[in-house]
């Protein structure tokens, strides 16, 4: 690995290609049974049992204000390390681990709107597509404006 490149764990979400630096990743798991948490913000999909550790699973589609996953499609878990311990991000599909040179990096375009502006650190211009780099620390911090209670069934 050269000095000026980083390794990214990549995944797909609503057709978009995302990456998180591998150093922040604890592990990647297939779908796990979840216990939903009543009254929790809608972004929190539930709790999973990760070898005796209870890990909060965040629905990344909801967090990034993307349309909800089609019913019946099971998400994968990308378990990231955060200040508050391990947290699972639910994604559509896992990609490869890629090594990317720093010089193809660019800050997010000014036209990027909404919550994505806060959570996307920047873009790598890869040959075939763009890789969006996610700020995991901000993503798992729900104390901002997005902390709205889930719409309740009446």
């Amino acid at each position: 690995m050269s000095q000026n490149s980083k390794q990214y764990c990549t995944f797909f979400l609503n057709g978009l290609f995302f990456g998180v630096e591998v150093l922040n990743i604890q592990e990647v798991l297939r779908y796990q049974q979840m216990t939903r948490v009543p009254l929790a913000p809608a972004t929190v999909q539930g709790l999973i049992n990760l070898r005796g550790q209870i890990v909060t699973a965040i629905d990344l589609r909801h967090r990034l204000e993307l349309p909800a996953r089609a019913s019946g499609v099971l998400p994968m878990n990308v378990v990231v390390r955060s200040e508050d311990g391990a947290i699972s991000l639910l994604v559509d599909e896992i990609g490869d681990v890629v090594e990317i040179e720093d010089d193809v990096f660019e800050s997010p375009p000014e036209t990027l709107r909404g919550v994505a502006r806060d959570l996307i650190k920047g873009v790598y211009k890869l040959k075939e597509r763009l890789l969006l780099v996610l700020d995991t620390e901000r993503t798992v911090n729900l104390s901002g404006a997005t902390l709205l209670p889930s719409e309740s069934h009446n």
Partner: protein, 750 residues
């Protein structure tokens, strides 16, 4: 305090040994590094700190010889550290010799408890000489060039005092040493203290605990699986796996335990300071310092205990003159006692002071409108004492630096209750006050009731649980009444507000609410108020491992944490207090409800809750429900005989059975025994006995007017209950007749 001082001293000596051996090893390594020219700018600070700590600690615990030897070397080292002297081979040799001398003394201390009588004056002389000798300073040193870089380091930055080792190993070693006093250090290889104890990061222990929890789950799954298999080898292996896992779990739990003495060790100082400040004389006696508790609980009780102790000295114990006038010794007694009982830790704080003045408490409560005048007239002394736990209460005539600002006992109570404990206050005017605290052994594993609601499982901590009520469909329709949208249930004549868990947690599946055949009510208590929680299903009680929730979920007050169930799935633990507040069962203004409660209690005192049952034919009997531990059914074939008595195996113990009808003269004995037999489990002072009755009828709450007649055998009196004459069963009398041993070695109540 003599005994305790000894234990404390031993603990301090143990710490010194553990730390010093570590330190001196570092010292040697650092010195050798310097000799080889590999010294870092920090190296001299490291070795100076080692010696400084040894000197300081040894001085504190009265090991004069070690202190004075260490002192001489420290002088030399401080000159070296500050760059006033340069290191030379002669110094290195002397310092290594010096390190050996210290080790020798420490080893001697470890083996014999004495510092040894070897003479080190020659070495000390040499060290002193090296300090002054210009010649030494002038000699060339291979590592001289780095001296100027040393930073001045305050001695206070010496390494933090070590975590007191919780292990038994050092204590055992010390015992061994105590018996082997006469032996010289070299004569027998006793394992050194630094070989038998290691310091382990607490995080490491927590991790171990998690892994064990996971192992338990895996074990449970395997047991389920092998239950179906018939392979004997597999069954044997599973059996062993089961045993080992249980043992491992217990051992790991133990590593997290610390003796309560760790918290208490600072109390002698606090007692001395507070007593001094107030011009009082107080003798502190501590018993049961070795009682072990989970480290999280140790942390949680530290502050409440400190507060209680301050209070006891300030309000409890009188000034010497007043004590003398009352015919008591000048010096007040403060006793701290800890012991294990029934899976809980009991802590008692007793003083022999003036006790709590009930009249003054009552007056104060009236002044602060914590008590209504009409209540004051009827309130019992026992309840008056509990008023001191109300927020905003303080009886101190003057506010002192120490206590009396009205924040106090309520905080103590809240803090203890937060960790699932309880507080009880006993006081006798002129004789003293006793505060009894009961706390669970660990917070990490708690008994809980598992319920299902809206398709999800939840755990309810057993401490909040009062009882379970099941209403069949007909009862449910009639029993649950609605006041302005607020459902209530009449539980033995009192209105019990109901909270539907699925509604509260917004778990309702559309249209699912109508299909209610039977209603399950879990009666809970939070902050002194009772309420009923309606759930879909009541599953079982289980020991659960409490795990915290991530910060994304911290804001939800209804949950106290989460746990992993036997099938590996996660279940949430309900925070009963938070839920009650969320559901508005508990109003936010706490004072008002507590005043109400004091009144309620006095009114309720006149009423008694009674268990009605039959024993044999034509007998209608009652006993107070408060004496009943449980109601059980046992199949006839589970009844065994031991020692000429009928017994059953019950919760891992042998429960003696008493056929009530045999002790009642008028009851016609039953011809055939029903199967299963109905048993009322009666408990007193930790011992239980099963009363076999023929039928359990009802639980009623009645204002009891006992008409005492000439007492018959087994009957203490009669009363009219539900318009029928009912005999009150004399349970102690019957037990005495059936089993004279039951009361024999019973503990005297305090």
């Amino acid at each position: 305090m003599a005994i305790n001082n000894e234990a404390l001293q031993q603990q301090l000596v143990n710490d010194l040994l553990l730390e010093s051996f570590d330190g001196l090893d570092r010292f040697d390594r650092a010195l050798l590094a310097l000799e080889n020219g590999q010294g870092q700018p920090d190296t001299f600070n490291v070795i100076f700190r080692v010696i400084h700590t040894i000197k300081g600690t040894a001085g504190c615990i009265g090991l004069g010889k070690i202190e004075s030897v260490a002192h001489v070397g420290e002088n030399l080292l401080s000159l070296l550290r500050d760059g006033n002297l340069k290191l030379n081979p002669a110094m290195i040799a002397a310092l290594l010799e010096y390190s050996d001398a210290l080790k020798e003394m420490l080893r001697c201390l470890e083996m014999t408890g004495q510092q040894g009588d070897k003479d080190y004056s020659k070495l000390l002389e040499k060290l002193k000489q090296l300090q002054t000798s210009e010649a030494a300073a002038a000699e060339k040193s291979s590592v001289g060039e780095v001296w100027g870089l040393f930073e001045e380091v305050e001695p206070e930055t010496a390494p933090a005092p070590p975590v007191v080792p919780a292990g038994r190993a050092p204590a055992m070693v010390m015992e061994k040493i105590a018996t082997a006093t006469a032996e010289t250090p070299a004569s027998r290889p006793v394992s050194s203290i630094s070989d038998t104890a290691i310091r382990v990061d607490v995080g490491q222990l927590d991790k171990l605990m998690n892994l064990v929890g996971e192992l338990v789950l895996a074990r449970n799954q395997i047991i389920q699986f092998t239950g179906k298999a018939k392979e004997p080898t597999l069954l044997n292996a599973t059996q062993r796996l089961n045993l080992i896992t249980t043992e491992l779990q217990e051992s790991v739990m133990k590593t997290r335990m610390q003796p309560i003495g760790n918290v208490w060790s600072k109390f002698p100082r606090i007692v001395r300071d507070v007593a001094h400040e107030l011009g009082k004389r107080v003798k502190l006696v501590m018993e049961g310092q070795e009682t072990e508790l989970d480290r999280t609980i140790i942390e949680a009780i530290k502050d409440p205990l400190t507060h209680v102790i301050r209070n006891a000295i300030d309000h409890g114990i009188e000034p010497p003159a007043m004590r003398a006038a009352a015919g008591k010794p000048d010096e007040g007694m403060l006793i701290l006692r800890a012991f294990h009982e029934g899976g809980q830790v009991n802590i008692e704080i007793m003083d022999d002071g003036q006790g709590i003045n009930v009249a003054r408490v009552k007056q104060k409560a009236l002044e602060k409108s914590l008590l209504a005048p009409d209540q004051a007239a009827v309130i019992s002394d026992r309840d008056v004492l509990n008023l001191v736990f109300l927020p905003g209460f303080s009886t101190a005539e003057k506010v002192t630096n120490v206590s009396g600002r009205g924040v106090g006992m309520d905080v103590v109570k809240t803090n203890i209750e937060k960790i699932g404990g309880s507080v009880d206050l006993f006081s006798e005017t002129g004789q003293g006050t006793t505060l009894k605290i009961k706390i669970p052994l660990t917070l990490a594993i708690i008994p809980a009731l598992i319920v299902t609601s809206g398709g999800e499982r939840f755990a309810i901590p057993q401490v909040n649980l009062l009882e379970l009520v099941r209403l069949e469909s007909e009862q449910a329709r009639k029993g649950i009444e609605v006041l302005y949208g607020a459902p209530v249930y009449r539980l033995r004549g009192q209105l019990l507000p109901l909270v539907y868990l699925n509604r509260e947690l917004k778990l309702l599946l559309p249209g699912a609410e109508t299909s209610s055949s039977a209603v399950q009510i879990v009666v809970l208590q939070a902050d002194g108020r009772q309420f009923g929680m309606v759930v879909d299903e009541i599953n079982d009680t289980e020991e659960i491992v409490v795990k915290p929730l991530g910060k994304q979920l911290k804001g939800i007050s209804c949950f106290a944490g989460a746990t992993i169930m036997g099938d590996g799935r996660v279940a949430l633990i309900l925070d009963v207090l938070g839920l009650a507040q969320e559901a508005k069962v508990i109003s936010e203004t706490r004072d008002r409800t507590l005043t109400d409660k004091a009144g309620e209690q006095t009114r309720a005192d006149e009423r008694q809750t009674l268990l009605l049952f039959d024993a044999g034919e034509n007998s209608r009997l009652a006993i107070p429900l408060s004496t009943v531990a449980r109601l059980e059914e046992f199949p006839l074939k589970s009844i065994e005989r031991a020692g000429g008595q009928e017994v059953v195996q019950y919760r891992g113990q042998i429960l003696p059975l008493i056929q009530v009808s045999q002790f009642l003269p008028l009851a016609a004995p039953e011809t055939t025994r029903p199967d299963p037999v109905q048993v009322v489990v009666y408990s007193e002072s930790g011992r239980s006995v099963g009363l076999v009755v023929s039928q359990i009828n009802d639980i009623v709450q009645e204002i009891l007017t006992v008409r005492r007649e000439a007492p018959r055998q087994g009957i203490s009196g009669s009363a009219v209950i539900q318009d029928k004459v009912t005999d009150l069963l004399d349970v102690p009398g019957i037990i005495r007749a059936a089993d004279p041993d039951f009361y024999r070695d019973r503990k005297e109540p305090l």
